[in-house]
Symmetry: C2
Subunit: 75 residues, 2 copies
DNA sequence: AAAGTGGTTATCATATATGATAACAAAGGC
DNA sequence: GCCTTTGTTATCATATATGATAACCACTTT
Protein backbone atom coordinates (compact mmCIF):
# COMPACT_ATOMS: atom_id res chain seq x y z
CA UNK A 1 0.00 0.00 0.00
CA UNK A 2 1.47 3.34 -0.99
CA UNK A 3 0.46 6.71 0.35
CA UNK A 4 -1.84 7.53 -2.55
CA UNK A 5 -3.76 4.33 -2.03
CA UNK A 6 -3.92 5.01 1.68
CA UNK A 7 -5.38 8.48 1.11
CA UNK A 8 -7.98 6.99 -1.20
CA UNK A 9 -8.83 4.26 1.31
CA UNK A 10 -9.26 6.77 4.10
CA UNK A 11 -11.40 8.94 1.87
CA UNK A 12 -13.57 5.97 0.97
CA UNK A 13 -13.89 5.07 4.61
CA UNK A 14 -15.00 8.57 5.54
CA UNK A 15 -17.55 8.48 2.76
CA UNK A 16 -18.97 5.16 3.89
CA UNK A 17 -19.21 6.31 7.48
CA UNK A 18 -20.77 9.59 6.45
CA UNK A 19 -23.36 7.96 4.22
CA UNK A 20 -24.18 5.41 6.91
CA UNK A 21 -25.21 8.37 9.02
CA UNK A 22 -27.35 9.75 6.21
CA UNK A 23 -25.64 13.12 6.07
CA UNK A 24 -24.22 15.11 3.18
CA UNK A 25 -20.65 16.33 2.68
CA UNK A 26 -22.07 19.73 3.44
CA UNK A 27 -23.35 18.53 6.81
CA UNK A 28 -20.17 16.76 7.79
CA UNK A 29 -18.00 19.65 6.67
CA UNK A 30 -20.09 22.03 8.72
CA UNK A 31 -19.72 19.82 11.77
CA UNK A 32 -15.96 20.02 11.25
CA UNK A 33 -16.05 23.76 10.61
CA UNK A 34 -14.94 23.69 7.05
CA UNK A 35 -16.34 23.88 3.54
CA UNK A 36 -17.90 21.06 1.56
CA UNK A 37 -15.23 21.48 -1.13
CA UNK A 38 -12.60 20.54 1.41
CA UNK A 39 -14.55 17.47 2.44
CA UNK A 40 -14.81 16.42 -1.19
CA UNK A 41 -11.05 16.80 -1.52
CA UNK A 42 -10.54 14.48 1.44
CA UNK A 43 -13.11 11.86 0.41
CA UNK A 44 -11.68 11.67 -3.08
CA UNK A 45 -8.18 11.14 -1.69
CA UNK A 46 -6.77 14.26 -3.27
CA UNK A 47 -5.04 15.46 -0.11
CA UNK A 48 -2.75 14.11 2.59
CA UNK A 49 -4.67 15.13 5.71
CA UNK A 50 -3.08 16.04 9.01
CA UNK A 51 -3.96 14.44 12.30
CA UNK A 52 -5.95 17.50 13.32
CA UNK A 53 -8.12 17.27 10.22
CA UNK A 54 -8.74 13.57 10.76
CA UNK A 55 -9.48 14.23 14.39
CA UNK A 56 -12.15 16.81 13.59
CA UNK A 57 -13.77 14.34 11.21
CA UNK A 58 -13.65 11.50 13.72
CA UNK A 59 -15.27 13.73 16.32
CA UNK A 60 -17.98 14.74 13.89
CA UNK A 61 -18.61 11.08 13.11
CA UNK A 62 -18.47 10.21 16.79
CA UNK A 63 -15.75 7.62 16.43
CA UNK A 64 -12.12 7.48 17.47
CA UNK A 65 -9.37 8.52 15.13
CA UNK A 66 -7.95 5.02 14.99
CA UNK A 67 -11.31 3.73 13.76
CA UNK A 68 -11.21 6.34 11.04
CA UNK A 69 -7.86 5.23 9.68
CA UNK A 70 -8.46 1.52 10.13
CA UNK A 71 -8.31 0.78 6.42
CA UNK A 72 -5.43 -1.58 5.88
CA UNK A 73 -7.12 -4.82 6.77
CA UNK A 74 -10.70 -3.92 7.41
CA UNK A 75 -12.63 -1.79 4.98
CA UNK B 1 -9.09 15.84 24.12
CA UNK B 2 -7.87 18.75 22.03
CA UNK B 3 -5.50 18.57 19.11
CA UNK B 4 -2.44 19.52 21.14
CA UNK B 5 -3.10 16.72 23.58
CA UNK B 6 -3.67 14.33 20.71
CA UNK B 7 -0.35 15.23 19.13
CA UNK B 8 1.38 14.68 22.45
CA UNK B 9 -0.38 11.34 22.94
CA UNK B 10 0.61 10.15 19.50
CA UNK B 11 4.18 11.27 20.11
CA UNK B 12 4.27 9.40 23.40
CA UNK B 13 2.89 6.32 21.71
CA UNK B 14 5.54 6.42 19.02
CA UNK B 15 8.21 6.77 21.67
CA UNK B 16 6.92 3.82 23.64
CA UNK B 17 6.72 1.65 20.55
CA UNK B 18 10.17 2.73 19.43
CA UNK B 19 11.76 2.06 22.80
CA UNK B 20 10.04 -1.32 23.04
CA UNK B 21 11.99 -2.22 19.92
CA UNK B 22 15.22 -1.00 21.44
CA UNK B 23 16.00 1.47 18.69
CA UNK B 24 17.01 5.13 18.78
CA UNK B 25 15.24 8.10 17.22
CA UNK B 26 18.12 8.07 14.79
CA UNK B 27 17.35 4.51 13.78
CA UNK B 28 13.64 5.04 13.42
CA UNK B 29 14.10 8.26 11.53
CA UNK B 30 16.49 6.56 9.15
CA UNK B 31 13.97 3.79 8.54
CA UNK B 32 11.46 6.50 7.64
CA UNK B 33 13.97 8.38 5.50
CA UNK B 34 14.14 11.50 7.58
CA UNK B 35 16.35 13.12 10.18
CA UNK B 36 16.40 12.44 13.91
CA UNK B 37 15.47 16.07 14.60
CA UNK B 38 12.20 15.53 12.76
CA UNK B 39 11.48 12.41 14.77
CA UNK B 40 12.11 14.33 17.96
CA UNK B 41 9.65 16.97 16.80
CA UNK B 42 7.00 14.31 16.29
CA UNK B 43 7.63 12.43 19.54
CA UNK B 44 7.48 15.63 21.55
CA UNK B 45 4.16 16.56 19.94
CA UNK B 46 5.45 19.74 18.42
CA UNK B 47 3.95 19.06 15.00
CA UNK B 48 0.67 18.04 13.47
CA UNK B 49 1.75 15.15 11.28
CA UNK B 50 0.15 14.17 8.01
CA UNK B 51 -1.13 10.72 7.21
CA UNK B 52 1.88 10.04 5.03
CA UNK B 53 4.28 10.79 7.87
CA UNK B 54 2.35 8.56 10.26
CA UNK B 55 2.22 5.87 7.65
CA UNK B 56 5.99 5.85 7.18
CA UNK B 57 6.42 5.54 10.93
CA UNK B 58 3.87 2.75 11.20
CA UNK B 59 5.64 0.88 8.43
CA UNK B 60 8.99 1.31 10.14
CA UNK B 61 7.48 0.01 13.38
CA UNK B 62 5.77 -2.80 11.51
CA UNK B 63 2.30 -1.96 12.73
CA UNK B 64 -0.78 -0.56 11.05
CA UNK B 65 -1.51 3.14 11.06
CA UNK B 66 -4.63 2.68 13.16
CA UNK B 67 -2.55 1.00 15.86
CA UNK B 68 -0.24 3.99 15.82
CA UNK B 69 -2.99 6.51 16.48
CA UNK B 70 -4.90 4.35 18.93
CA UNK B 71 -4.36 6.72 21.83
CA UNK B 72 -7.77 7.91 22.92
CA UNK B 73 -8.78 5.01 25.13
CA UNK B 74 -5.81 2.72 25.14
CA UNK B 75 -2.37 4.12 25.70
C1' DA C 1 39.50 16.07 29.44
C1' DA C 2 37.96 14.63 25.04
C1' DA C 3 35.01 11.93 22.07
C1' DG C 4 30.85 9.59 21.23
C1' DT C 5 25.78 8.76 21.79
C1' DG C 6 20.93 10.10 22.15
C1' DG C 7 17.83 13.59 22.20
C1' DT C 8 16.15 18.56 21.86
C1' DT C 9 15.56 22.88 19.88
C1' DA C 10 16.03 26.78 16.58
C1' DT C 11 16.14 28.08 12.02
C1' DC C 12 15.66 28.02 7.15
C1' DA C 13 13.73 26.95 2.43
C1' DT C 14 10.37 24.43 0.10
C1' DA C 15 6.32 21.81 -0.48
C1' DT C 16 1.77 21.29 0.49
C1' DA C 17 -2.47 21.24 3.58
C1' DT C 18 -5.92 24.19 4.76
C1' DG C 19 -9.72 27.53 4.25
C1' DA C 20 -12.37 29.82 1.16
C1' DT C 21 -14.73 31.08 -3.11
C1' DA C 22 -16.62 30.22 -7.45
C1' DA C 23 -17.90 27.63 -11.41
C1' DC C 24 -19.52 23.46 -12.92
C1' DA C 25 -22.12 18.86 -13.58
C1' DA C 26 -25.61 15.52 -12.49
C1' DA C 27 -29.88 14.31 -10.57
C1' DG C 28 -34.38 15.32 -8.71
C1' DG C 29 -38.49 18.13 -7.85
C1' DC C 30 -41.41 21.84 -9.09
C1' DG D 1 -38.21 24.64 -18.75
C1' DC D 2 -36.16 26.28 -14.07
C1' DC D 3 -34.53 25.69 -9.34
C1' DT D 4 -32.42 23.10 -5.66
C1' DT D 5 -29.37 19.77 -3.85
C1' DT D 6 -25.16 17.24 -3.81
C1' DG D 7 -20.73 16.64 -5.06
C1' DT D 8 -16.45 17.88 -7.89
C1' DT D 9 -12.85 20.64 -9.42
C1' DA D 10 -9.90 24.76 -10.06
C1' DT D 11 -7.83 28.49 -8.01
C1' DC D 12 -6.00 31.51 -4.62
C1' DA D 13 -3.78 33.17 -0.20
C1' DT D 14 -2.13 31.76 4.04
C1' DA D 15 -0.56 28.68 7.47
C1' DT D 16 2.23 25.06 8.52
C1' DA D 17 4.43 20.36 7.79
C1' DT D 18 8.41 18.66 6.00
C1' DG D 19 13.41 18.05 5.19
C1' DA D 20 17.68 19.52 6.45
C1' DT D 21 21.44 21.60 9.10
C1' DA D 22 23.60 23.10 13.12
C1' DA D 23 24.10 24.07 17.89
C1' DC D 24 23.28 22.49 22.18
C1' DC D 25 22.55 19.50 26.59
C1' DA D 26 23.10 15.35 29.34
C1' DC D 27 25.28 11.21 29.84
C1' DT D 28 28.73 7.65 29.09
C1' DT D 29 33.12 5.91 27.71
C1' DT D 30 37.76 6.12 26.86
Amino acid sequence: MNIDQLQIKIGERIRILRESRGITQQDLAAACNFEKANMSRIETGRTNPTVSTLYKISQALEITIDELVDVEVAN
